[in-house]
């Protein structure tokens, strides 16, 4: 038995195989286990674009990357230390992502004639035989055969037996990192409670993988990644879309409003609807509409009725919602619009990530129609920002855009979750009943923050008519008055600008105002940028980092902060959108770093750009 343990600070493992191989389940199980073990972590699932892409092909490869450590982890890692591949296509697709001298764990049954052909590899070029993997540590096992052997007493058919081979891999990797397998056994027991034979098979294979790793003497040692020193508190593991859903539920609960969600399924936003639909005991009304327009319009109706109304979608669906967003802005009613961005334009790259809908959120409506735009920086931050979106929508009677993206929506990390009592209060101000003796009700009269009241049907004496036609500044009646229109356009903009006084000021996540260069990011690039500036700090290079979460309006001190730096680098997963807004508003000579490949930045790409900029 191998007992020697090698301590590691951080590790990145990439599981890859056919979409039918249960890769995502293996990945999420390993993630839960890692989180419970106490490591900080970050994950990046990479789904194939097709639901059932042809078996064995490159198009059908599903991947799940997890980066975990005893140190703080901010991103799923650029390249991996360990690559687990179930077939030839998975190896071909991912070999470039493996570090030099990295470890490959190979299921050899995925490299037979057929699999090679499906992966587009000639038999003579079988990478397992042609020395192309010489720089790596390769461990080959026939996982399919080993799985079948461990199930020789099972009554299950071959197909069902083979299905559990992902558990063999999971058990194997648990052993490698010196883990207990209990969390997965509990999980399997819950999942297959009604199917005892499948449950037995999965547990048997999981254990078989674990013991096999122990006895096969592949590794001269096991690895140990000690728990991370984290701030005290209660933690759980969370996926971005799940965090968004929880943020919405929390805001509804805290504001004592019912949550209404209207939406139409679309990748990668659907999981928000799925998550909300699980918690109907919170009084959540989920409405799967006939299209995205109906989704947002139903939400507008619900908001008019006094619910906390939300709609979520992704690029193409958001485009469809444009006209209704303008209406919600004119009506000045609360509405949260979540855009889980994906690769565009048009249908684009549905399963890939991008930050290319920022301009759409800020400007994408007819007429002068400003709407607050905020963005989350990580999976768990989706909770905070979804909650913030609700708070701003309610307190400022406005639709709010909350931007997430495929990367953080599907990624996971440990989350120090708050107590309900620690959450910011949300003030709901419904109009009160009025009697006939009161002066006539003025639905568009504003308070000192330029906000009008929320007067909902059922309230006596404040009956009024709303609409998309320009309205009189107080009565809300239709008005074509030139002066009134100009006033209304300005006051609606002023209301949105006022929000800057009710959001946090921009802080520096790293560095000081004296640092030589500021990296300014927004949204999900946070982890990659943070990883780089931390690394540079250990090399003695002091870089400042600010991550903008409030984009419209921007934090009120942002202009000041930017003026402190001679050099500003703005990395974005688009062709340059935040940089346009920043140059426009603050006249600063920031430089872009754009990546438009459907995948997040690698730390080294940002590092290179920083070093280049410092040289010039």
């Amino acid at each position: 038995m191998t007992q020697v343990q090698q301590k590691l600070e951080q590790v990145t493992v990439l599981f890859a195989g056919d979409s039918g191989d249960g890769i995502q389940l293996t990945g999420t199980q390993f993630t839960t286990n890692t989180a419970l073990f106490g490591n900080d972590l970050s994950t990046f699932p990479d789904f194939p674009a097709e639901i059932r892409a042809p078996l064995g092909t490159i198009a059908g490869v599903s991947g799940f990357q997890i980066h975990f450590g005893s140190v703080d982890i901010y991103s799923p890692g650029d390249r991996c230390d360990v690559l687990v591949v179930m077939n030839a296509a998975a190896l071909k697709k991912n070999i470039s992502r493996l570090k030099e001298r990295g470890t490959i764990i190979v299921n050899t049954s995925g490299f037979d004639k057929r699999n090679l052909r499906l992966a587009g590899i000639k038999e003579v070029e079988n990478p397992l035989n042609n020395h192309s993997l010489e720089g790596f540590k390769v461990h080959e096992f026939d996982i399919t055969k080993l799985t079948r052997e461990s199930l020789k007493d099972s009554k299950l058919g071959t197909k069902d037996r083979d299905r559990s081979k992902n558990m063999f891999v999971l058990g194997f990797v648990y052993w490698m990192y010196n883990r207990k397998i209990d969390s997965s056994i509990d999980f399997l027991k819950a999942k297959f409670a009604a199917k005892p034979e499948i449950l037995d098979a999965n547990i048997t294979v999981l254990k078989a993988g674990y013991h096999f790793a122990d006895t096969c003497e592949t590794f001269s040692n096991r690895f140990e990644v000690k728990p991370t020193k984290m701030a005290t508190g209660s933690y759980r593991n969370i996926i971005g879309n799940q965090a968004t859903a929880l943020g919405l539920i929390a805001a509804a609960h805290k504001s004592k409003l019912d949550l209404f969600y209207g939406g139409y399924p679309i990748t990668p936003a659907s999981d928000i609807l799925h998550e909300l639909a699980k918690h109907k005991n919170f009084g959540i009304k989920t409405f799967q509409a006939e299209d995205e327009i109906a989704g947002i319009c139903a939400a507008i109706g619900a908001s008019f009725g006094g619910d906390l109304a939300v709609t979520a979608s992704s690029g193409p669906g958001i485009a469809l919602k444009g006209e209704a967003l303008g209406l919600a802005m004119m009506l000045e009613i609360p509405l949260v619009v979540v855009n889980v961005q994906r690769g565009g334009p048009s249908t684009g790259l549905p399963t890939k990530t991008e930050q290319a809908d920022l301009m759409q959120a800020v400007y994408g409506r007819n007429g002068e129609a400003p709407i607050p735009v905020i963005a989350a920086t990580s999976p768990s931050d989706c909770f905070t920002m979804a909650y913030e979106a609700c708070r701003i929508a309610i307190e400022f009677m406005t639709p709010v855009f909350f931007l997430s993206d495929g990367y953080i929506a599907n990624g996971a990390e440990p989350w120090r979750y708050p107590k309900a009592s620690d959450l910011k209060e949300i003030n709901v101000q419904f109009a009160k009943e009025r009697s006939q003796d009161d002066p006539a009700y003025l639905p568009y009269k504003r308070n000192e923050k330029f906000v009008r009241e929320w007067a909902i049907p059922g309230t006596k004496g404040v009956e009024h008519r709303l609409g998309g036609l320009e309205k009189d500044k107080e009565t809300g009646n239709v008005s074509y008055e030139p002066e009134n229109h100009e006033y209304m356009v300005k006051v609606r903009a002023q209301k949105i600008a006022e929000i800057a006084n009710h959001i946090p000021e921009q802080d520096l996540d790293n560095g000081t105002e004296k640092s030589k260069l500021l990296v300014l990011g927004w949204g999900s690039t946070y982890g990659s940028i943070k990883t780089v500036v931390k690394e540079l700090a250990t090399e003695g290079i002091d870089i400042a980092h600010a991550q903008i979460k409030y984009i419209q309006p921007m934090p009120r001190n942002l202009g000041d902060l930017l003026s402190k730096f001679d050099k500003i680098l703005i990395p974005e997963m688009n062709n340059g959108q935040l940089i346009t807004l920043i140059r426009d508003q603050y006249l600063v000579d920031a430089k872009p770093l754009n990546k438009i490949k459907g995948v997040p930045f690698e730390a080294r790409e940002i590092k290179e750009a920083i070093l280049n900029m410092l040289k010039n």
Binding site: N237, G283, C297, G301, A309, G458, K460, R465
Partner: protein
């Protein structure tokens, strides 16, 4: 949340005037919309519902200006989407009395998708579909209900679009209440409006409305004193289908084929006729197919009244039932528990 509202005391004293808003009406003089507005305002006090519990929602079009003139809650929204907005409102606030005002373009062209989905879901609300067979607000283009050959600004050579038969479409979309009224028959319209409000589900009332500017006389065959009795068939539940200037004609069903019979020759008497049954889907389907051009020889008369009424569960009813059952299964919501999830750990 209660699905129904308690009747309030002061409601008894409301009159039509209480439902008139302070806004000047902007429809063209002589427009059929005036008559419909007046009937709706006069029917409101009869509903026994407080003003603040009534909401009018519309899309865009001449007809969709309607909510501005009602002294209730209202929303003049965007083109074609009132149906979706009303659905959300009803899901949020099932106890409200929600009325939807829409035009033939608004509901059958740009908003066609939302209309059919609203009908199948059967939210308890009332749709008043003002059909003038034209786009009024945009100054007279043909609409999805305009007849083939119609010459308008956008079809100088005549329209080549085959029109919808709106009520047949609604039957196909699983509608639970299908009716037709006419701007020029106020008393009949009021009866239908009352029945529409009483129906628990989506009530669809198509109202033939004259646009005297862009499509004057489109329904002349059913409003003209000389013609209307021979061209129109007024449906009454449980009564035989009789029509004609002297109530001299009737309808029988010959297999699936409706046939007009003469009641004066002695060959047929009233007791031979088809008896109207609002509950019969098959017959309602046939009746909605009475869609002949009235000037055509042997045209079937155009029916007015309630074609079909069915009691079917309402969306909001099922929605609140689910919420309630889930609460009973999962217990009172506990946000702290939800945030912690099932796999949390402590760091000391």
């Amino acid at each position: 949340m209660a699905l129904e509202k308690d009747i309030k005391e002061e409601v008894q004293k409301l009159t039509a005037k209480d439902f008139v808003s302070d806004q000047d009406i902007r429809w063209c003089p002589g427009c059929g919309d005036y008559s419909i507005l007046k009937q709706v305002q006069s029917v409101m006090p009869e509903l026994g519902i407080a003003k603040e519990d009534i909401v009018f929602i519309s899309g865009i079009g001449c007809s969709s200006r309607f909510p501005y003139y009602m002294n209730t809650y209202g929303m003049h929204s965007i083109h074609g989407r009132a149906t979706a907005i009303a659905s959300g409102l009803k899901a949020a606030r099932p106890e409200l009395s929600v009325w939807l005002v829409t035009g033939d373009g608004d509901s059958l062209s740009i908003g066609g998708n939302h209309l059919i989905h609203l009908l199948r879901r059967n939210f308890d609300l009332n749709i008043l579909l003002f059909n003038n067979q034209i786009y009024g607000l945009t100054k007279g283009q043909y609409s999805p209900t305009s007849e083939v050959g119609k010459k308008t600004k956008s079809t100088p050579l005549g329209s080549i679009d085959h029109p919808f038969n709106p009520l047949a479409l609604c039957m196909g979309a699983e509608s639970t209440f299908v009716a037709r009224a006419l701007d020029r028959e106020p008393k009949h319209m009021r009866e239908i409006l009352l029945r529409a409000e009483q129906h628990k589900g989506t009530s669809l009332v198509e109202i033939y409305q004259n646009c005297n500017i862009f499509n004057d006389g489109a329904f002349g065959g059913f409003t003209d004193k000389q013609l209307k009795k021979d061209n129109s068939l007024y449906l009454k539940h449980g009564e035989p289908l009789v029509f004609g200037a002297k109530e001299d004609k009737g309808l029988i069903l010959d297999g699936f084929e409706p046939k007009i019979v003469d009641l004066t020759t002695g060959e047929y008497t009233v007791s031979d006729l088809w008896i109207h049954d609002e509950k019969c889907r098959n017959k309602a389907n046939i009746l909605t197919r009475f869609f002949d051009d009235p000037s055509k020889e042997n045209a079937l008369p155009r029916p007015f009244g309630i074609f079909y009424q069915e009691d079917r569960f309402r969306y909001e009813e099922a929605l609140y039932e689910q919420l309630e059952t889930h609460k009973q299964q999962k217990g009172i919501p506990d946000l702290n528990k939800l945030l912690a999830g099932t796999n949390s750990w402590e760091v000391e």
